[in-house]
Amino acid sequence: MIAFIIQRVFQGAAVVLAMSLIVFVGVYAIGDPVEILINPDADQQTREAVRQSLGLDKPLWMQYLYFVKSALHGDLGTSFVFNIPAIQLILQRLPATLELALTATVLAILLGIPLGLVSGLNDKRWYSRMIMAGSILGFSLPTFWVGLILILVFGVWLGWLPVYGRGDTVRFLGVEWSIFTLDGLRHIILPAFNLALFKIALFIRLTRAGVMEVVNQDYIRFANAMGIKKARLLWRHILKNIMIPIVTVIGIEFGSVVAFAVVTESIFNWPGMGKLIIESINHLDRPVIVAYLMVIVVMFVIINLLVDLLYAGLDPRVRLGSSNR
């Protein structure tokens, strides 16, 4: 287990390194940030000076080595645009994104899994078919498009729900949260639902597939043959087995929820990391882009680790660390 965790950390570090290199080269390939940041009035010398002060005049490999060096000292660089340490900028926005992603994931779980159970257990019924049809629809609707429609319907036409930002926040554990205020909750409903829609569909199908598979297993037949009651069968025997793959997927999908928050955040003006990364790309704000990706990678490493640990907790057959599955 220790070996396993260490291995994961090494892997994570390798990705971070590879990622940062790719981003460095990539952003360099896009162009010179000074051309975007500077006031067009500024004369050529000023531009030179800015380039110098931001360290952009050096050859790329030197910039990269310098970055690695300071990264090892915990300094991921300072945003060109904001002159705020990139990592701070991101961590400030992280709660908003996490909150959105978590709410969406919870929503997806709360809606997806029960619906999946219902449709998996009563495979042939009309309502199961309805649920499945609905889930295909959920798969097919592009997130951004749904977001706009949601805004149009619930924000503009009906005027029921706010369509931008987080609303009131309260401080909790040193971080601003909006899910703990009524106003904040009102604000999160639409974006979270928007983000969750795809996942709801996914969880419905996963759960259903899991149920249909597990129900045909010998051990369920045996449990039936032992006269175990239906409800008990569902809660004890079926659910625990299907949760194993679902937990994995929830973990992996949480990452993609965070990533897709890019779209939702920019539509709903949700002040999270996703919106930041778009703007940073727009401004070629390299330190922020690099730092963002690093945070994401670290988050993934952690999530994957958690998923694996959870998996091992749920499934007694799993031995952590055996690299050959």
Binding site: I30, D32, D41, T46
Partner: protein, 502 residues
């Protein structure tokens, strides 16, 4: 009547509330809510007294400025000449600034306090430029700002201004929160609390207004203009913009990367020929573009400077539309069969930019110039443009200071790295006459004379079709019914400009 608390949705967020961190219009707008300048530009770009009540040239390039008395900082400390001198010291020297303020203080060779409320500023060149420059530099307080870094401004420690609002909090990507300064020298605002939120997505911004979540939005997209105008709950506020859209052309290289004959073979760059440039200008139906793509929210342009600017040349007509004549000119220049170009443009920078580029292509096609279109986000567009990777491209120039010579210097003067001329001259147009007149205009003390020289330079350049001016953009705000907003030409969205309708 309107509420005490107001939420404003703006297109672009501030990079910092450090007033001297980065000279970009949006940061400046945010900062202007908190800090004042010595001289301010009013909504029509005219210079007006602010922290300085009067200014006078007392000879030898020395200006005497009288400072407003009785002004106090947000923390109650009195405002004095020391603060001004401190500002002059700090403004050009903010570390890591991506757009430093140095250029606005480069005219000043010396500044000293005569008494608490009088300062003398010595300039290098005998020109009124320093007054325009001073309008760009927010004055910070010495006692709060001494030794303060950008971060200290961002978290409010040093953000002590004299402006109409006090700083409450700011989060990049979040909101800028302000509270009314009851002691503002020009009288307090009506509103107690202001929240300025960045909403880059146009549709979301409009939706937020329509759904009642915000009270005022800026940069109303032309697509939504009509709807908002017809909406009873919404008021529209508009004014001409300082931005002038134009086409920049490679007028320098013999062979240009994106120009070929129609069969794809290499040809000599036709844009070197002013006739061809004129033909392209004549091909453009500016009014159609304005009407169909911008909902009428623009004016046809014939030069860079807008009609209200110092140095505007009234003799230059807005570009005419005459495709027949365009074809004739092309034939005259030896291109009766036309040629092939790729027109580049940004797709997220200017009003309707991507659509305008496509419309231009449609129009060029009609005079026999086969046109491809390539649009890209501004982050890719500008570096590529500066690298001279394009042959003809669409962009805009903003003369935020309201003077014509800025545009001339930036866009039309011969590119000269040493002297700092033509930094945005991406087409490398070069005309000694334009250079001479512009330099002269910039070093003339008499504003009227400077304006005349600028206008003359413009006359030369635009007869030459150095660039093809397209239109003057329009700035549009929309507020909830019951509010009144004072629209500004320089695009700044200022909370102080908002009031409730009686």
């Amino acid at each position: 009547s309107a509420a005490e608390d107001v939420v404003i949705g703006v297109r672009t967020e501030a990079a910092s509330v450090d007033p001297h961190f980065s000279y970009v219009a949006t940061s400046k707008a945010a900062v202007t809510n908190i800090f004042d300048t010595l001289i301010m530009r009013d909504k029509d770009l005219q210079l007006a007294p602010a922290l300085a009540t009067s200014w006078e040239h007392i000879g030898d390039g020395v200006w005497e400025l009288k400072l407003r008395e009785g002004v106090t900082w947000h923390d109650g400390e009195p405002f004095t000449a020391e603060d001004v001198l401190f500002t002059f010291e700090r403004a050009p020297n903010v570390p890591n600034s991506p757009a430093p303020f140095g250029q606005f203080l480069s005219q000043i060779s010396d500044a000293k306090a005569v008494d608490d409320h009088t300062i003398h500023i010595t300039t290098r060149n005998p020109s009124p430029q320093v007054l325009f420059d001073l309008a760009e530099v927010p004055i910070i307080s010495k006692h709060a700002g001494e030794g303060a870094a950008t971060a200290d401004y961002n978290d409010g420690k040093a953000t002590i201004g004299t402006g109409p609002f006090k700083f409450v909090s700011w989060q990049p990507g979040g909101a800028l929160k302000l509270a009314r300064n009851d002691d503002y020298w020009a009288g307090p605002s009506e509103f107690e609390n202001i929240e300025i939120v960045a909403m880059p997505n146009d549709a979301s911004r409009v939706a937020a207004l329509l759904s009642g979540d915000v009270d005022l939005i800026d940069a109303v997209p032309p697509e939504s203009y009509e709807t908002l105008e017809n909406n009873d709950g919404v008021e529209i506020w508009k004014t001409p913009d300082v931005y002038t859209a134009y086409l920049h052309m490679d007028t320098d290289r013999e062979v240009s990367p994106f120009i070929t004959a129609k069969d794809g073979s290499e040809i000599k760059n036709p844009l070197l020929d002013p006739k061809v440039r004129e033909a392209l200008s004549l091909a453009i139906n500016r009014q159609a573009i304005i009407d169909r793509l911008m909902n009428g929210l623009a004016q046809p342009a014939g030069q860079l400077a807008g009609p209200t600017m110092t140095g505007f040349n009234p003799d230059i007509e807005p570009g005419a539309y005459d495709p027949e004549k365009a074809k004739a000119l092309l034939a005259e220049a030896g291109y009766e069969d036309g040629f092939k170009i790729t027109l580049h443009g940004p797709n997220n920078r200017y009003v309707a930019d991507a659509q305008i580029v496509q419309a231009l292509a449609q129009m060029f096609e009609r005079i026999g110039v086969a046109t491809e279109v390539e649009t890209m986000p501004a982050n890719i567009f500008f570096p590529r443009g500066s690298n001279r990777e394009f042959s003809i491209f669409f962009l805009a120039w903003g003369s935020a200071q309201g003077t014509a010579w800025h545009g001339l210097r930036g866009v039309l003067m011969t590119y000269d790295k040493e002297k700092g001329y033509g930094p945005s001259n991406r087409g490398r147009y070069s005309n000694p006459e334009v250079d001479r007149l512009t330099i002269e205009s910039m070093s003339t003390f008499d504003v009227d004379e400077a304006a005349r020289l600028s206008a003359e330079a413009a006359g030369v350049a635009f007869r030459d079709f150095a660039i093809i001016p397209m239109h003057y953009q329009m700035n549009v705000w929309a507020s909830k019914d019951g509010f009144e907003y004072e629209p500004r030409q320089d695009q700044m969205t200022l909370a102080y400009g908002l009031s409730s309708q009686q």
